[in-house]
Amino acid sequence: MRIRPMRPRDAAGVVAVYGARARTSAALMRRNAWYWRRQARDRGSKGLRIVAEDGGRIVGYAIANADKEGAGIREVMWRPEHDGTDLGERLVLDLLRRVRRRKPLILSASAMPGSPLLPLIRDAVGHPQPSLGVFMARALDPSALLRDAVGVLRRRTDRSIRLRVDGRTASTRRGRPAATITLGADELLGLLLGARDLDQELRLGTVKLSPRTADAVAAAHAAFLKRRFWIADGW
């Protein structure tokens, strides 16, 4: 495996890494071709875009940007199958080596809790700051949310789950449901985004499960599994 500067022909590989990461994450933003083209043209990150290549395949990438005010790590991604290896650390250290050559006034980086990037930048950059930026959300339309949730749960589990949200009901598959989960729209959104924990909500009584059998609990956990990796772009 080698780490080298990103080239224009790496574009498809970089998009594929992002896509692979998005399939195991809670809330990455969908990016279109226009977004990636704009990123490739961004002058601030010129010379600060690197990729990790393994046998001709792009397995990770890292991007920083710098201007006269300072430099910041913008994004570090690697394929989920490389979790637990030192690939992320190698990308961060290589990127920081390139950033420091520019002698920035300030070096900054941020990540969401749960992101595997967080311990890496904590070690590499240091100087933790009080938390300022926050991502907030609220449910608006329970029917639309139910439709969205059914799409996600179908991807996660083959078993039938019945959801009851604010008096509306939907099932992920036909047939007898393995579990019926009754909850409010905001609780459902929080569980989908990974901001809420199913066990805690069951204890608090904000989420109700029936039947209360071990099999139903297992089916509910498969539907609302806790996502480790958590990141979101600003807009």
Partner: protein, 260 residues
Amino acid sequence: MPKPRVVIRLATQRDAPALTRVFRDAYGPIPTAAIRRWMRSKDCRKDFLVAVVDGVVASSVNIQYRELLIDGVPIRTGGIAGVATHGAYRHRGLATRLMKEALRRIRDRGVSNASLFTGFNLPAIRIYRRFGYSEVSAWRSFEDVRRPMEWMKGRFAFRGRWLRTASYGKRILDDLNRRVLIETPAWRATVSLDGRTFKVRAGRRGRPDVVMRGAPDAVFSCFGDHLIFDRLVRQGKLRVTGAPDAVRAWRMLLTLRWRG
């Protein structure tokens, strides 16, 4: 006095100069060309709402329709951005009216949820909580200020530029005519106002009106944040001495907290 007439409508390119005044007042120095460019871009979708008070654009809210990927499955979200109200029109419920209209539009488009990015230190977070938004996740940030003197020069140059363009700037620049010594174990710097421009010089220069002492990280972290400044002072990690009105003026300048 007649009640002012408030109209909520979509913004057009012709509103760019008025929006620049609103954004400058709320966020800092922004050129009109940048606002025009942003309004033309794909990032600024068609639901860009403004509140017009007696014919003057006073407040704005922009909706950005995006897709969150949950396990790769796209879920549409109505992202709220560009929430700003001109200082002269605050506390009239304009942002609240715009938010109500924005949420109605998002719901009408069949989008299941609304989301936004904000700061714990911004007053708008109270409005968002009132509208039912809850915190999903907060960033952990790390900052290594490698060249403190140059970095602070940049921060104070920004404050000088902003205050020259903001509606309340002249009064504040008059009030802030003080000399401040920042002292850390690693370095010392003196901040003074030279005419309308802030000067940051290494070391102690003259007799300071205010002295601020603390670790470099404590000093850097309260730039632009009154909550952190107050907390560090309470915890004794930041010691600020001087006449009360001078300390109050310094707090405003450092934390960009112009009111209250």
